[in-house]
Symmetry: C2
Subunit: 340 residues, 2 copies
Amino acid sequence: MRGVILHAPGDVRVEERRDPRIEQPTDAVIRVAAACVCGSDLWPYRGIEDVSGPAPMGHEYVGVVEEVGSEVRNVEPGQFVVGSFFASDNTCEICRAGYQSRCVHAVPMGGIGSQTEKLRVPLADGTLVATPGTPPEDLIPSLLAASDVLGTGWFGAVAAEAGPGKTVAVVGDGAVGLLGVLAAKELGAERIIAMSRHADRQKLAREFGATDIVEQRGDEGVERIKELTGGLGAHSVIEAVGTQESMMQAIRSTRPGGHVGYVGVSHDVELPGLELFFSGVHLHGGPAPVRRFLPELIEKIWQRRIDPGKVFDLTLPLDEAAEAYRAMDERRAIKALLTL
Amino acid sequence: MRGVILHAPGDVRVEERRDPRIEQPTDAVIRVAAACVCGSDLWPYRGIEDVSGPAPMGHEYVGVVEEVGSEVRNVEPGQFVVGSFFASDNTCEICRAGYQSRCVHAVPMGGIGSQTEKLRVPLADGTLVATPGTPPEDLIPSLLAASDVLGTGWFGAVAAEAGPGKTVAVVGDGAVGLLGVLAAKELGAERIIAMSRHADRQKLAREFGATDIVEQRGDEGVERIKELTGGLGAHSVIEAVGTQESMMQAIRSTRPGGHVGYVGVSHDVELPGLELFFSGVHLHGGPAPVRRFLPELIEKIWQRRIDPGKVFDLTLPLDEAAEAYRAMDERRAIKALLTL
């Protein structure tokens, strides 16, 4: 089978890989229907994260179950499934508390690589959620979004305690930030301020429910959020970038007692203790426990209540993965879907 | 009147100060019945925080109202009152959300100095809570504790979401940490692990409800907490020190999805973003909104359900304040009460 391998920064190739097989009785093997490139794939692609030797890429996937191990009970061959970027048993104490991405048996799917024709999914019973049936073609992008980028934006909104009566600000206009806007809207937020300086992303943010756009960044962006919130700051801020500037922008845009939900993977971030202390904000985030939200998100997509697949503004066949990476790296695309 | 003034690190004196008077129609003036020395008073005393010129000291107080401004409605002369270390209007949006220490009109009482015979309290209606009557002498230490150290430990426990079924670890065995133990117990925690290597403080921690004592610190302390919690970490950790080591000890002792409540004023703390991200913890803290809890805490003290005044293991007249500071600085006393 064919799959995407990163050899060095900027050097992504589609190569022959060995077909996966059931290794553990709790495994499943799925035929991938669609995969995609994540903002976090760009960190090693850009050389900001170390690349040591050829690495299989991708951690987002939807597909059809081909084979299951002898202990798998919850999914069966032929079912269309969505999984998260961390395999999880969904039964340990951490999973039951809703933190499946930190399951005591968690397996990062990025280490296996989902930008490929077939994928071994460990802990299939805990990881995979079957859709109500075979989805129509046009729902596949949205179901794929649920695998990470929607689930991550959703977690950001939940961690930021977005909800009725709340003003929510979103730092970051990538796919996660945009779907944070969608999540805040679905969770009932009263006012949603998207921070973006790109017309196409502003447009999508408005489609997803943003009521205000702030183009300023850094201290100026913070000032603007304060102006829009009676000097107090937003109740809830979703941070979807992961840099020092974006984290401080998020913390400073939040009112005392408010909530920051941060889902951008932190890179070279150091939070100053004294400022954080006196900010009085709640800070919660990390790798999103997407599995917690999957049943609810699949249901909303199936009912066509939400259309998160709109974040895919570039669709290419798997064999053109290198162009998908380039387009995202150069910000010509918000998010690229790979068809199989 | 006489009051405590810090002239330079280590140089605390009791001197003549001008009697306070009503300056704003929302002020009250109280005759202080008891004040005390806070762990945070030791930062400037030790020269770790800058001291610029003579500074009035103290921000904890209970006393009897002597005079009120023309707009004060909720308290009247003759009432015994407890106040927080931040004066607050208790009516702004931030106060109504329970964050009175970050009231839009907040006044830090430390700038006025409560280690004194008489004290002007701004925003008296929002700040002061009257007790049900004149308290018996033996309740005064506990009521004084409510003014900061109990309210702060309580906030730490609330921020850490201590409650039924939870294992709570407490980093720091000063008065705040010890009262964090008491708060966790009152909030219904199942298991409370006090981290302390001092026999007298361990004893008080057990009296307040600690079920386990951990003497190790740093990485060893974290390992010990993990051992006691099935490898997962505590559900809730109260951080009551404010150093880099104590913050990291708290974060690392908390399970993914768990809660850190941090109430030690941060000094030279930098939180590493990537580690915090993958920890998956909730982080909340800051200057405690003591006013939120005062009515409930006064009621518990009045009913003799809790006895937080036990943290005062040294009682001296105001004139011997210098010795009170020395005793706390040298850790000969957990907390010193000043009588008037």
